[in-house]
Assembly symmetry: C2
Homo-oligomer: 112 residues x 2
């Protein structure tokens, strides 16, 4: 059993092209015994965003703090604390901070 607080995990800058002012904490990743899916916490600082991109695996996300928008084909949809989303495999998407404080959200992906 693993029991920790997310603040115990170092936030690493995301260097992917198209990512601006984004950091990631790998809460349960490849160095954990998680058998099927990985838990990460993203923080997007004001003015920042993730890349607008697509990939073959899904995201399940849950917004903890801040406000933002998920941009996708057909437009953007607002995000606030308590919002959750499923980005299905192959769907274009981008997470953008539209507020004045960090946007923090959990993002789960299947294990590679």
């Amino acid at each position: 059993m693993v029991v920790k607080h997310y603040a115990d995990i170092t936030a690493e800058p995301v260097a992917t092209p198209g990512a601006e002012k984004v950091s990631i904490r790998w809460l349960l990743g490849k160095d954990s015994p998680a058998p099927h899916f990985w838990l990460r916490l993203f923080e997007v600082r004001p003015g920042g965003h993730s890349p607008y991109h697509t990939h073959p695996s899904e995201h399940e996300i849950f917004v903890l703090e801040g406000s933002g928008r998920i941009n996708a084909k057909g437009g953007g949809r607002p995000l606030q604390p308590g919002c959750f989303a499923l980005v299905e495999p192959g769907e274009e998407h981008q997470f953008e901070n539209t507020g004045a404080v960090p946007l923090k959200f959990l993002c789960l992906v299947p294990k590679e």
Copy 2:
């Protein structure tokens, strides 16, 4: 793509033997297009707890609000907002509210 707020999802009482004052919201479950794992939000009211039990699949949890304890072989470990846990397959566990306000946490499981 699914984008919703957890308050849009009905909280259902958990009737499992051993569960006291627990409700569940299925945010992304069998009626969603989630391909690999399911996202649920549990609420344990003051004085309540989940069953002390075990099962072959893991839990990944993240605490949103309230305070509590995860009881397991060897004792209990405190939970507060921002805590996350991996309950590995086959590990005995119970979630207990030790505070005066609802304990809310996300709990993810592999798709059945």
